[in-house]
């Protein structure tokens, strides 16, 4: 039996575990039908031209989760940021772990989706938002929807400005058989509210697991969301991240994606504008080696006038690693005075490393500013000479320049301890020891 068939067949067993009366169940069933019709994407799909799921879906995965993973704080501590106060939503093998988490219902909801689905007071919000931004034609999104059960649920009411960031941490213990995980996160930030979120998926043992995650983000009027994705998983783990962002007028959403690890990582990051004067920022830093593969597939749909989007993706590829950037900017006819900017710069360290960069601009409005640029190359020779003339040998000079290229992305990271953490990850990856500040 193919894994696809197993997914379809297992739905009956899955239905035994969940509340069939839930208003979202009809979404699950419809989504499963869509997945059944479309199947997994293949290289024939334009958006999947440079990334093949074939070897991943030929394997077999455990769909039912390990209910009692024996895990303690010390096992996971190094994967979270601990030197600041934060909310934590921790999942282990797809199951919420209340002992390792720090959630709240005090003035806002930072908790889990299963709770929001089961309690009647959330019913209205769930039916207003659930699956409203997810397009029907994305089969991996449909697959996630069909198995919706657990994930983070974040609701920040009007004008609430939580001081502490939220960490969403998904751990996979990798015990027994490799796991197939499908977390579903919903984040709703009401008018004039804000939130900072750090998301991480981490395997604790090197079983070849796969996570097909979906996050719906709703940014209401004049809200502000800073979202940081840290992808530094073991070299055997695979991640498909589907993120859909719905922005209302005057809202500002920034997503930083740091891809340093994992075997295959696919980021589908989609922004939809539903009002004027919106700002969207997409920043990515990818540093890979070995046989790692990261594919950034972005969409910004400018559907209203006077909005701005900025995309800046940088990549450094060593050994046989592969990077893909496929960035689409879609400007509807009504979206006059759009300002859309896209940049993708890559450095190939070794001959066998590879990058496929494909900007896609579809513009139907006539009074817009759209720019895109992409570079794939080596380091600036004059800069190299400058460093060498100061006594820095070639090898160290290359490392320092590469570090500078990467580190520049951190400028816009607003959480100092996160910045420090990522800075040290970058230094480690590139073999430079700096961190000397006044």
């Amino acid at each position: 039996m193919s894994f696809q068939d197993k997914l379809l067949d297992s739905f009956i067993a899955f239905e035994q575990e969940i509340d069939l009366q839930s208003p979202i169940h009809v979404y699950r069933k419809n989504a499963l039908k869509r997945f059944e019709n479309k199947g997994f994407p293949t290289k024939k799909d334009e958006q999947w031209k440079y990334t093949s799921l074939k070897s991943i879906i030929q394997r077999d995965y455990n769909l039912s989760v390990n209910r009692n993973p024996n895990i303690e704080l010390k096992d996971i501590k190094k994967y979270s940021i601990n030197d600041i106060d934060s909310f934590k939503i921790v999942f282990v093998d797809g199951v919420f772990n209340p002992f390792l988490s720090n959630t709240t219902h005090d003035g806002m909801d930072i908790c889990v989706l299963s709770a929001a689905l089961s309690k009647s007071k959330y019913k209205k919000t769930i039916s207003k938002y659930f699956n409203k931004i997810v397009p029907d034609d994305e089969s991996l999104a449909s697959l996630n929807t069909s198995y919706t059960q657990e994930g983070a649920y974040i609701y920040i009411p009007k004008s609430v400005l939580p001081e502490d960031p939220v960490q969403i941490l998904h751990f996979s213990t990798g015990k027994n058989k490799p796991l197939w995980l499908q977390p579903r996160n919903i984040i709703i930030v009401e008018e004039n509210a804000r939130v900072e979120i750090i998301e991480r998926h981490q395997s604790l043992k090197s079983h070849t697991g796969l996570t097909n995650s979906l996050t719906e983000i709703y940014a209401e009027k004049n809200s502000f969301i800073d979202y940081y994705k840290i992808q530094n998983d073991l070299e055997s783990s695979n991640l498909i991240d589907n993120t859909f962002i719905d922005q209302k007028r005057d809202s500002n959403v920034r997503v930083h994606t740091f891809s340093f690890g994992g075997k295959l990582t696919r980021n589908n990051l989609n922004f939809y504008h539903k009002g004027e004067n919106i700002q969207s920022t997409l920043k990515g830093l990818t540093i890979l080696e070995g046989d790692q593969h990261v594919d950034h597939n972005t969409l910004v749909n400018h559907a209203q006038p006077n909005c701005e989007s900025h995309q800046d993706y940088k990549g450094i590829f060593s050994e046989r690693s592969v990077g893909v950037f496929n960035g689409k900017i879609l400007v509807d006819q009504i979206a006059q005075k759009t300002n859309a900017f896209q940049q993708n710069n890559n450095i190939l360290i070794d001959n066998k490393a590879k990058v496929n960069s494909k900007p896609q601009l579809e513009i139907f409005a006539d009074d817009v500013k759209c720019s895109h640029g992409c570079t794939i190359g080596q380091l600036n020779k004059e800069a190299l000479f400058y460093l060498k003339s100061r006594g820095i040998p070639e090898k160290e000079a290359i490392a320092l320049l590469t570090y500078g290229f990467a580190n520049n992305v951190l400028k816009s990271v607003n959480i100092p301890s996160l910045k420090k953490r990522i800075n040290s990850l970058i230094s480690k990856k590139l073999g430079v020891s700096l961190g000397f500040d006044l």
């Binding site: 600036n380 004059e382 800069a383 000479f385 400058y386 460093l387 060498k388 003339s389 100061r390 006594g391 820095i392 040998p393 070639e394 160290e396 000079a397 320092l400 320049l401 570090y403 500078g404 290229f405 990467a406 580190n407 520049n408 951190l410 700096l434 961190g435 000397f436 500040d437 006044l438």
Partner: protein, 248 residues
């Protein structure tokens, strides 16, 4: 300290230096002047070891050792420093991290341990003070978004930190207003002593009012056509280079 003997060099098959002879002793300050395109900046780059410039004939001796085959970083370790005419912007690397790496790599080449952080910090503060730079400037990315004056000041700051035996200042005065010029020149003079040497490359006499040269050389078409004392620079300021062309 520096001896250049019949140096010829080319870049992309174009001959630029056509037999330069120059001798600088410890404790001396020399100035090189010359019209645009005469080969002044090329000379600075060749001394520093820029790989695009190919030496076709002649030698460069530094402390009696031929350095033609040394790479730029090896020359820096020997004590050669060039202040760039156009310092390169390096986003993402702070001034302090850059200078720390430069100093520690140079120490490493001499078999010394890294400089301690406290000593480094003390030195950075002292030299930054000398050039009237504030500490916020030091935590910015190297040269990124710096004004012309800040870039040049930063070059001399690096020189002060590296304490080279020979400093080649390639048009350090260009783009500086008079106040910045004084600060930069004052920084150079404070670092200058009997054990090191300075080679100033400039178009204008005004820098030489502050960094007073022992000798002035005029380069035209890749050769030294005239050498003299500081009065030569003053004469050029008034009458230009044409008279030297005629006498050639």
């Amino acid at each position: 300290m520096l001896e250049i003997d019949n140096l010829h060099c080319k870049i992309d098959d174009k001959s630029i230096l056509k037999g330069i002879n120059l001798k600088i002793k410890k404790g001396e300050i020399h100035a090189i002047m010359g019209p645009n395109g005469s080969g002044k900046s090329t000379l600075a780059n060749v001394i520093s070891g820029h790989e695009d410039y190919q030496v076709t004939k002649g030698s460069i001796y530094f402390d009696d050792k031929e350095i033609n085959d040394l790479s730029a970083d090896e020359r820096a370790h020997e004590g050669v420093f060039m202040s760039f005419q156009y310092p390169v912007e390096i986003p993402g690397v702070t001034v302090t991290n850059f200078i720390k790496t430069a100093i520690n790599e140079t120490r490493k080449s001499k078999g010394l341990d890294d400089m301690s952080s406290s000593e480094m910090l003390k030195k950075i503060r002292e030299k930054a003070n000398l050039l009237d730079m504030d500490s916020n400037f030091l935590s910015r990315s190297l040269n990124e978004g710096f004004s012309g004056g800040e870039k040049k000041r930063n070059e001399i700051f690096q020189m002060a930190m590296m304490e080279p035996k020979l400093a080649v200042l390639d048009e350090t005065d260009s783009g500086l207003d008079i106040d910045a010029l004084k600060i930069v020149a004052n920084g150079v003079m404070k670092c200058s002593n009997d054990e090191n040497a300075v080679l100033v490359i400039t178009h204008y006499q005004r820098l030489l009012d502050y960094i007073v040269p022992d000798k002035v050389h005029v380069i035209m078409d890749g050769k030294v056509v005239k050498s003299g004392n500081k009065d030569l620079a003053k004469k050029i300021e008034v009458v230009g280079y044409d008279w030297l062309k005629k006498s050639k």
